[in-house]
């Protein structure tokens, strides 16, 4: 594993983590002046986005190997090092994080309750997410993995809606239980590696060299998989997601769908698969079938939802099921499709949640029965709602379709039956999305005849997302290029 | 000469007696007396052991044990007086305002 470049270059990655943390600290210090906190948070997220775009522009050529690599000793006694690495996959996810975080800040502009604390928590969340997508030392990854839960927990429990306490505690404990099991598996792996090679370290590269008996490897793999399965979420472990979604404030929901689900999948790609190659190979069929049931189960459950936020929670589970199906197919196109779909889903569902929040602010309700006739009340908002619903429906030419078709084409090469069944899933997705659109946009006007349409600030939020959805749908090439090198390496079991 | 086993058995019996006295009685004073008996049992074992091993450590320990027991009793009785003045009762179970 060669360091990207000999001369110590500017520590971009550490900056990516420390900048939001610094912003969070400043927000806390300015707790007197709420207005200032807003601008401070916006400035921090904008700066972070700027950096990620710069990294994307000058490192996005898809050459394999670490695009950026930073390493420093942290706790030498236990071989824990502060190592950060950026490759194609994490570059895209970091970009998505920075973008969605800025949207989250913009969306919480009108937040009145304890503003400094809110924005500092958001920025801490951004820092931890960056940490997860960049960490290469397993202990550093675990640290960011658990600390990520805290800001989200507070966001849900303090600024959430009616059943926020239940949802917050359920979210935290469910994910924590999984990650604790992962911690035990992590330590056992660390000890086995230490006994075999004498060097006790948590570095991903070394730990991949430990040769484990098949039974050991499967157990450890299941330990890791449990934590990631709860986070993704795969079907039996997904019941925390709808509650967390419906009760979280809009900024929290955007982060939850757009980013926290992706950390689970990223964990699978970066840590679970490379560390336990044989166990992964033998487990792929199970993963595929679980993903398939996830797609259908979530789509069917979504069809019966009345609360539109809960409906989108189930829709996220269904989309993520398709992503995991792509991974389970273990095929180059399917993998690149999965990662592209992750990106597309993050943006399209994020935009839809923004719109739901706007609708809730104006009509005061999220219940499908009380909504209707939005097109005549607020045509611009209705148009965008239709646009993003079509995107998440998988209409060709929009973001999700590009990802989905790549996943399906790739999966068909190795598992034709899975791909065929997944295509049938598309009909159910269409079923609940159209029911939603019909309930919200079309139909006779319920409630006030006209609603205040989108304000310039809201346009500033939604327009870039619409442009991105179109760009990803029609010309995803610049986003696929960084993936070519990274995906080939991971699937070959090595490390870039 | 009393064999070491007999001394131990006797001290053990003394200890168990003290323990039962502690467990059965309601009054704080009786519990304290029970504790004293247990401590005496312990010092008896010390003396017997020091005789058996022909060392003076056991006896030193027994003496210090008496000193410690005295100190403890002093503080305990002070506490008993303090409690009597406050609650006019010495039944141990009266003091159950903190529970759960």
């Amino acid at each position: 594993m060669t360091a990207a470049s000999a001369l110590p270059q500017f520590p971009w990655l550490t900056l990516l983590i420390l900048l939001p943390l610094g912003g969070a600290l400043l927000c806390l210090l300015h707790h007197r002046r709420a207005e200032e906190c807003r601008w401070l948070a916006l400035a921090t997220t904008a700066a972070t986005l700027g950096i990620t775009i710069y990294l994307f522009v000058c490192y996005g050529q898809g050459d394999s190997g670490w695009l950026l690599y930073e390493d420093a000793a942290w706790i030498p006694r236990y071989g824990i090092r502060f190592t950060l690495g950026l490759d194609g996959i994490s570059l895209l996810l970091v970009l998505l994080t920075a973008f969605l975080q800025m949207i989250a800040v913009l969306m919480s502009w009108s937040e009145k309750q304890h503003v400094p604390m809110f924005f500092s928590l958001l920025l801490v969340l951004e820092a931890t997410l960056m940490g997860i997508f960049l960490a290469l030392d397993l202990m550093l990854f675990f640290l960011f993995w658990e600390v990520m839960l805290l800001p989200m927990f507070f966001l849900i429990s303090i600024w959430g809606h009616e059943r926020r306490h239940y949802a917050a505690i359920k979210f935290f404990l469910y994910t924590l239980a999984g990650s604790m099991v992962m911690l035990v598996a992590l330590i056992v792996l660390y000890l086995i590696h230490g006994e075999q090679t004498g060097t006790y370290t948590f570095a991903l590269a070394e730990l991949m060299q430990t040769d484990l008996s098949s039974q050991q490897e499967m157990l450890l793999f299941l330990g890791f998989l449990l934590a990631f399965a709860i986070k993704i979420p795969l079907v039996p472990f997904h019941t925390w997601l709808p509650d967390a979604h419906t009760e979280a404030p809009v900024a929290g929901t955007i982060d939850l769908t757009g980013l926290l689900l992706k950390t689970g999948i990223y964990g699978l790609i970066r840590f679970a698969f490379p560390l336990f190659p044989e166990a992964t190979r033998s487990f792929l069929p199970v993963l595929g079938i679980v993903a398939l049931t996830g797609i259908f189960h979530a789509a069917w459950a979504a069809y019966r939802q009345d609360d539109i936020k809960r409906l989108f929670a189930y829709s996220s589970i269904s989309h993520v099921g398709l992503v995991v199906l792509g991974l389970a197919a273990w095929q180059l196109t399917a993998w690149e499709g999965s990662i592209l779909l992750m990106l597309a889903h993050g943006i399209s569902t994020g935009a839809l949640f923004v719109l739901i929040a706007l609708i809730r602010q104006r009509t005061g309700t999220r219940n499908l029965a009380e909504l209707g006739g939005l097109w005549s009340q607020a045509p611009q908002m209705a148009f965008l709602f239709l646009f993003f619903s079509l995107a998440s429906l998988g209409l060709p030419g929009l973001a999700n379709f590009a990802g989905e078709i790549l996943v399906l084409l790739g999966t068909f090469q190795t598992h034709p039956v899975w791909a065929a069944i997944a295509v049938i899933g598309v009909v159910f997705t269409a079923a609940y999305m159209l029911r939603l659109v019909q309930g919200v946009v079309w139909g006779p006007v319920k409630g006030r005849p006209t609603l205040p349409d989108l304000t310039p600030r809201e346009w500033l939020i939604l327009l870039p997302m619409a442009v991105l959805v179109l760009w990803l749908g029609l010309y995803p090439e610049p986003f696929l290029r960084p993936l070519h090198g990274a995906v080939v390496n991971i699937m070959a079991g090595g490390l870039p | 000469m009393i064999s070491f086993g007999h001394a131990l058995a006797f001290a053990g019996a003394l200890f168990v007696l003290g323990l039962t006295c502690v467990l059965l009685h309601r009054q704080i004073l009786m519990i304290l007396i029970g504790v004293e008996i247990m401590l005496n049992g312990a010092s008896l074992v010390f003396v017997a052991a020091s005789a058996y091993w022909q060392q003076v450590d056991g006896q030193v320990f027994a003496l210090l044990l008496m000193a410690i027991t005295a100190a403890e009793v002093a503080v305990a009785l002070a506490m008993v007086v303090y409690l009597w003045r406050r609650k006019r009762t010495l039944v141990a179970d009266e003091f159950n305002r903190m529970r759960g």
């Binding site: 039996p236 690149e336 084409l409 065929a420 295509v423 139909g443 696929l480 | 759960g100």
Partner: protein, 626 residues
């Protein structure tokens, strides 16, 4: 002009659609309407200009790479060849006339920007299907068309039934798209490419069994879009949309996309006899089914919708009988006279003040403008297939193809074709008599017809009547121009002895006349709609909707409820909350031990001592053991 300008045909309607969508409401109404018409007329003119490029094996134009991952490398590519050119011409031509008509029809509508942008977007999507070079771009057009029809059917969204009809259309076509999607995935897995010409070239290499399944998948995909059995329930309800929409989408263009798809993949499909018979069977069954339903309809647009379904069934039979030229010939002529019929129906509804029920019309020949009657009659005559009309020649060539097909079973399909022709002419003239003959049975007084709603009908009516010239059969001295135009892609050459051809032509003509007389005998004097079980059965389209509801929608609802309440709420959540409850309950149990009384604490001490003694004795025994 080089090939890449071909994209202009596509981009012009797209640009106008986006322009209307964004600035439609802010600009004066005329500007939007003009932009809309220019968008489509421009495409029409460009197609004419580029006609030369279609000769030979056509010309390909590539814009930029769309998806490039691993072995997959798909780009936005167009293929303007001999099959695509006439189709593009028809689509853009008919669309231009319908746009003009729509300007007049949607005079009072205030939400016109959305209408015209969606209409333009539809034409763009249809052109993408027609001109697509690879399956992915075709799929883009395919779903785009589905969305536009969803948007346009549910255009008057304030009435929830319209929105529901739109959703139903989108969902049923989506079911069809699933089959097309699976076929696409399979083809890519087999041939490693998505380009249609490459697939057709490698078609021979694919094993016969796979070819059959692939063709059936393509057939089901086509059925979804062309409203053939078993995915036909959405077309009747699609009439909820404005009439120009019905005219353009559900008569001329979208419903024929399925036929076009099969013609595009004809080299692949024609390899398997089983698939060909299946296509013919589906076409025949749908034709007879739709014709029978059309006889009992009361709404003028539903009659025409079922008639479209039946005529598209004919086109499927043509493809099944191996003659692409025959199918395309009927497709083109049908597009003209069905568009005329729909537009005329629009005028009739307009005159009747929005009344659709043909039993509440009548006597329009005298009440309305005379030319409306003649135009409608022209369309009706073509539809019924009276001799020398465009419809007659195109339908006759299909019947000839069925008759002369080597496989004996095609005679059965031929017979069904003849019976359907009879029913067709009957319901067509039933329509004519009920609407135009007798006295005005409706309420309200006739509105004046704006010029734009009358003028565009004539060109199409004439084209419908003179449609036969495109592909005049040999025995009448015709040059079969269309067949030669398609060349290799035209499919089987219909060779039959002259007397067989004369016999068939005579039979067809006789049937058309018989159908006319039957309608004349039945509807000369106004007869109230007969209310018996058969008519109700036919009216509801053989209870198709009820069947779909009982076998698909109700089980799906139950399944959805089970997966939400059953699995999520009780199973997963239940087990979690059960776990939490047991934890708190045994926590409370433990708290009962700390009773606050000192004696219990001391007894706990004693229990600890007992455990130690017990363990100690165990150790002693164990110690003594070894």
């Amino acid at each position: 002009m080089n090939e890449s300008l071909l994209f202009l045909i596509l981009l012009l309607p797209l640009f106008c659609a986006v322009f209307n969508m964004l600035f439609g409401m802010r600009l004066p109404r005329l500007f939007t309407e003009v932009m809309a018409v220019i968008g489509v007329a421009g495409a029409f003119v460009l197609t004419l200009l580029f006609w030369g490029y279609a000769e030979g094996d056509g010309s390909r134009a590539v814009l930029f790479t769309w998806l490039n991952s691993g072995t997959l490398n798909v780009s936005f590519a167009l293929n303007f060849d001999r099959l695509a050119a006439p189709m593009t011409l028809m689509v853009t031509g008919v669309a231009t006339l319908i746009h003009l008509y729509a300007v007049g029809y949607m005079r009072e509508e205030d939400d016109y920007a959305r209408f015209f942008s969606l209409l333009n977007l539809f034409v763009f999507a249809m052109l993408v299907i027609v001109l697509a070079d690879n399956l992915l771009v075709l799929f883009l057009g395919w779903e785009g068309v589905g969305f536009c029809s969803y948007g346009l059917i549910g255009f008057w969204y304030r009435k929830l039934e319209n929105a529901k009809a739109g959703t139903k259309a989108f969902l049923v076509t989506r079911v069809g798209d699933v089959f097309l999607g699976i076929a696409m995935l399979w083809l890519f897995a087999l041939t490693g490419t998505l380009s249609i010409s490459a697939i057709n070239a490698q078609a021979a290499l694919i094993s016969p069994g796979v070819v059959i399944v692939l063709s059936l998948l393509l057939l089901l995909g086509a059925c979804g879009k062309s409203a053939q059995l078993p995915l036909m329930t959405w077309l009747a309800d699609a009439m909820a949309g404005p009439t120009p929409v019905s005219a353009l989408i559900h008569a001329a263009t979208m419903v024929t996309a399925g036929v076009y798809l099969l013609c595009r993949f004809f080299p692949l499909v024609s390899l398997s006899a089983v698939a060909m018979t299946a296509i013919t069977a589906i076409g025949a069954l749908t034709a007879i089914y739709a014709a029978s339903c059309a006889m009992a309809q009361r709404d003028i647009k539903r009659v025409l919708a079922y008639s479209t379904m039946s005529q598209v069934g004919y086109m499927f039979m043509a493809v099944g009988a191996g003659t692409v030229a025959g199918a395309m010939f009927h497709l083109l002529t049908h597009a003209f006279f069905k568009a005329v019929l729909f537009m005329a129906a629009g005028c009739i509804i307009h005159l009747g003040g929005g009344e659709n029920n043909i039993f509440k019309m009548g006597g329009l020949a005298r009440r309305g403008p005379a030319e409306l009657f003649w135009v409608f009659l022209a369309g009706a005559v073509c539809l019924a297939g009276l001799p020398l009309t465009g419809g007659f020649f195109s339908k006759d060539s299909i019947l000839l193809a069925l008759y002369t097909y080597p496989d004996p079973v095609y005679r059965v399909f031929w017979l069904i074709g003849i019976v359907t022709a009879l029913l067709t002419s009957f319901y067509t003239f039933r329509l004519v008599y009920l609407v135009f003959a007798g006295e005005w049975r409706g309420s309200g007084h006739p509105h004046a017809l704006p010029l734009l709603m009358r003028w565009p009908l004539w060109p199409l009516a004439l084209l419908g009547l003179a449609g036969g010239m495109f592909n005049l059969p040999a025995f009448l001295g015709g040059g079969e121009a269309l067949h030669h135009w398609y060349g290799t892609m035209a499919g089987r050459m219909l060779t039959a002895s002259h007397d067989v051809e004369w016999m068939l032509a005579g039979l067809a003509a006789a049937i058309a006349v018989v159908g006319w007389f039957a309608a004349h005998w039945r509807y000369r004097t106004y007869q109230a709609p007969l209310e018996n079980a058969l008519s109700r059965f036919l009216l509801s389209g053989w209870q198709a909707d009820a069947l779909v509801d009982r076998f698909f929608i109700r089980p799906f609802n139950a399944m959805a409820l089970f997966s939400w309440i059953g699995c999520d709420r009780t199973l997963f959540d239940g087990s979690l909350e059960g776990l939490a409850r047991t934890a708190t309950r045994c926590g409370a149990l433990l708290l009962k031990i700390t009773t606050g009384r000192l004696t219990t604490y001391l007894s706990a001490f004693a229990w600890g001592f007992l455990i130690l003694l017990g363990w100690f004795l165990l150790k002693l025994v164990e110690g003594g053991g070894h």
